[in-house]
Symmetry: D2
Subunit: 325 residues, 4 copies
Amino acid sequence: MIVTLSKGADGAAVKKQLVARGLWVERLEGAEVVAFQVSPSSRPIDSDELRSVQGVADVLLSAPAHPEVSKQSSIVKVGPHELGPGAPFAVFSGPCSIDSEERIHRLARDLAQAGATFLRGGAFKPRTSPYSFQGYGVEALKWMKQAAKDAGLAMVTECMSEATVDDVAEYADMVQIGSRNMQNYALLKEVGATGRPVMLKRGMAATVKEWLLAGEYLLMHGAGGVVFCERGIRGFDSSTRNLLDLGSVADMAHAKKVAVIVDPSHASGRLDLVPHLARAAKALGAHGAMFETHDDPGSALSDGPQALSVEAAVSLTRELTESRA
Amino acid sequence: MIVTLSKGADGAAVKKQLVARGLWVERLEGAEVVAFQVSPSSRPIDSDELRSVQGVADVLLSAPAHPEVSKQSSIVKVGPHELGPGAPFAVFSGPCSIDSEERIHRLARDLAQAGATFLRGGAFKPRTSPYSFQGYGVEALKWMKQAAKDAGLAMVTECMSEATVDDVAEYADMVQIGSRNMQNYALLKEVGATGRPVMLKRGMAATVKEWLLAGEYLLMHGAGGVVFCERGIRGFDSSTRNLLDLGSVADMAHAKKVAVIVDPSHASGRLDLVPHLARAAKALGAHGAMFETHDDPGSALSDGPQALSVEAAVSLTRELTESRA
Amino acid sequence: MIVTLSKGADGAAVKKQLVARGLWVERLEGAEVVAFQVSPSSRPIDSDELRSVQGVADVLLSAPAHPEVSKQSSIVKVGPHELGPGAPFAVFSGPCSIDSEERIHRLARDLAQAGATFLRGGAFKPRTSPYSFQGYGVEALKWMKQAAKDAGLAMVTECMSEATVDDVAEYADMVQIGSRNMQNYALLKEVGATGRPVMLKRGMAATVKEWLLAGEYLLMHGAGGVVFCERGIRGFDSSTRNLLDLGSVADMAHAKKVAVIVDPSHASGRLDLVPHLARAAKALGAHGAMFETHDDPGSALSDGPQALSVEAAVSLTRELTESRA
Amino acid sequence: MIVTLSKGADGAAVKKQLVARGLWVERLEGAEVVAFQVSPSSRPIDSDELRSVQGVADVLLSAPAHPEVSKQSSIVKVGPHELGPGAPFAVFSGPCSIDSEERIHRLARDLAQAGATFLRGGAFKPRTSPYSFQGYGVEALKWMKQAAKDAGLAMVTECMSEATVDDVAEYADMVQIGSRNMQNYALLKEVGATGRPVMLKRGMAATVKEWLLAGEYLLMHGAGGVVFCERGIRGFDSSTRNLLDLGSVADMAHAKKVAVIVDPSHASGRLDLVPHLARAAKALGAHGAMFETHDDPGSALSDGPQALSVEAAVSLTRELTESRA
């Protein structure tokens, strides 16, 4: 954003007005024109408000980059459930990989009773190594669907191939796009075209703008809503698995006004930190939290070290949803 | 940490036990020995607990890197105030630069009434450009000291030169080391030697271990306690000024068990996000929050765009400290 | 890697031997065993050499993570051309997007005469915004194939959807996987299965290990060789578009011994820096460089600002390949 | 930089002209004015050239941020030696820590014969841990001075405390500011005031602009020239110790036109990669390289694993300086 000054305006006085509104500005000068460049790390502000400031000639803006995302009602509906500003804080939980029919039924029941609304779990797994377990596929989708239905939960699971979009969309109430595929545009188009609501995880090095533009691909192609999910970006410190960027979540929830949730399991990889980070997410104004649970983490087929015990997951779910009663 | 296996032990069974305890492990094999390497992004665990696992032969650890920090009582005392685990959540507020005697007195009074315990403000300012305002120096220290005293607050201010250590230590109840000087070892030694408690801001690219080791310099040379302050690290997204790393704060508060506070003003630079991030910090278990305030942000000599109005600061202080009543 | 000491060995003497071999080590101690943990930023070393050091009991290693990549002959063949250690330095050039049949023919001729061996260009374009030009598709593939053939060049172009793998593999001599799809495993499997050699661009936040593992997916599924391409990772400084990581390229070329090339156009986005960075890549031991060219950059359908003029591209190609005569 | 359009100008035609000059632009629109915002990752361009483009009304620029750095002749003189654009490629070598009088004399002789011009070495050492060796101090300065003098080399060594500025400036021909102190403004002022030329290492998370502004502090306070040294920034991949940013070096050398050298030892920490990275630095247009050497790396008091043997250092020095004959 650029704010140009009227001829003869008092630059210092205008600057004072801009700073007082939370804008970081840098003075630019041409042969004829003086202007202030407004840094993107400024408080969002309506350009009409700026135009009314004494001494301001014009306010120059770029065209909206993601009109569909901006137009989207900030509440996203997934069956009977609502997610986003004004809706109750939502808990998503379940195992990293779906590994047993019986187990997922039991877990879904326990989570639903505690107040969770979404059952998450992987049928197709994106794994860094080709030699790691790749998921049970369609069979796991069926187990999970039935378990979610019986427990009154909505089901969310990842789609990671154009070839399985139809299968996943048939079973899932909300389709997840994983962080490694945030800019897999072919997949975004196909998943969007199913009309399902989508949970879009942030890429490991994605800017907020790139993340919103990935959501734009989904909505432009027909997605029934997009919920953004922050799951940690690439950091330089190995004491947590990734780097949880709650500043961006605050920006998404309060300034961009989109539905956004937080995944503290992948963000930290630290069993002991998951509950603290989930509480922070709620206090911040995120619209939900997603964390991994397993009734026998030592036997989990993936990500066991970050899975909460069922007891811990139930207790955390209760705490996070109790104000909803 | 390395866990070696007994001859003939069942590696898979041991791995299951480790994973179930929240440990990320990788199998290593030698000519004679099999072992698991435990990733630093694992849940902290007592090595005696691991030694008792069936099939484990030995647990290999590195020597403690920062014995003084680990030994420090996690509560830090600053005059009558206490900071850290178990102590009430502490609010630090004040202007970025101290710019007027009258202003700082009025502000101190308002903040104290709302529940703040620390008055912060800069007398010497570290500025990226040599052409920016550099602070009012000792005169500002005097104004600030008197204002804090009259209002019953403790005073914290930055020391950025070996040459002014004595001056700052004479007036400040707690000395601040800024992020740019986190590894200025000459300064750490001199400030430590004053015996004052110190607030140590994290460097923009410092790992948690480097941050703790900087604290070790302070304590080894005599500091009367160290409070760590996360103020955002360098990020790649310009929608916030820096990148607030609350995962590291959770690690510091709950696993490292040191006194740690959060500065959402420098972390975000976003007036509109400061209250949300301060709430997140409290919910996470941080021991305090520090945010900038000014009664006329447009006229502030530095960092005006991120300064809360006095009204907003008072209201946020009340909210963050109300459970203390 | 962990090096354990024999009972009674002189730890300091062993450490001296390890340090002298370029290893960064940290001492670990258990109830029974003393060991040194070797940092990954050490010089690669054969474990047998370490086992022969006086005082060393055993050397513990993890299983090879990417056996197919390690097994791959480091020379990759693409038709009559060879790429990798020992092969001549290869130049890849062409427009970002293929936008005209005539233009690509003329360009291919000019580049071939100057010494280039690969014609690059996009028929399908991955664009951050859904509103940007998405490529001319199969038609562009045909233009490009003919132009490359006529000029005696090999053709490389990006495949970004499972649905177009067959089309791209029909025309391309080497299939490119873009950085956004480096961990799109469904695509890696399909492209690998075509048997074509593949150029695998590094993801914007990918570690060297993750990059090699993505190559492993390709080879495991049948790819006829993998050439790795560094194109800049996400950085925090806006004076270049991305951050060129030549340290990783040196590691890939000399320690990992895989075929690796550099793309200074995407890495810097800076027309004026492309030739300097291409020279650095060659001096470093990279096996090729890829840079964008256009005969009318102002009219390019994508990435015009980083396209060299044909004259500049021809001159740079000559300089980089002249020692081949 | 902002380019405003004349009333009625053809925006698309102007954009084409800007793109063709290597500028990345975004269109901004106000009630009255249309403009293009030019990204900082564009080719540097003279604003007068832009003003002459048909349809351009004005070009808005910010005030020069670092006039002294820009004014500095790009050649820096250190005694009889010259560094910078047009001067011969300079080699700086020596041990990380100065640990013996005899050793440094022998080493200086060998390096000088091979073509090096600067003897580097630490008398005062910045160490992450307070328990690591901190340097031999003034005694080491004396050994080093005599060794450099006898061999006809200039001497460069780090100053890390305001208290030792006079001592270091007395002995050193060029004073080094380490990366941890790049924004230690009190030190920059004191070192600048000595009038000595200064080698300024880049901070681990410093932008190019912050680095130049730190140089501005030095020159503003009297430094007899500033040579910038890139030594790797903080990265996320542990296969090298830091992340060498040669794109920024190219920008500094060719666009900012300041004297800049590269330190591949600290950047990579990898004995095996140092020569490759030094060659890349030279090919890129850097004005010198600095690498660590030791005649018994296993016994070095710091950073032994990255020290070249004397033989390797001599050979690399010869190679890098041979075109000077």
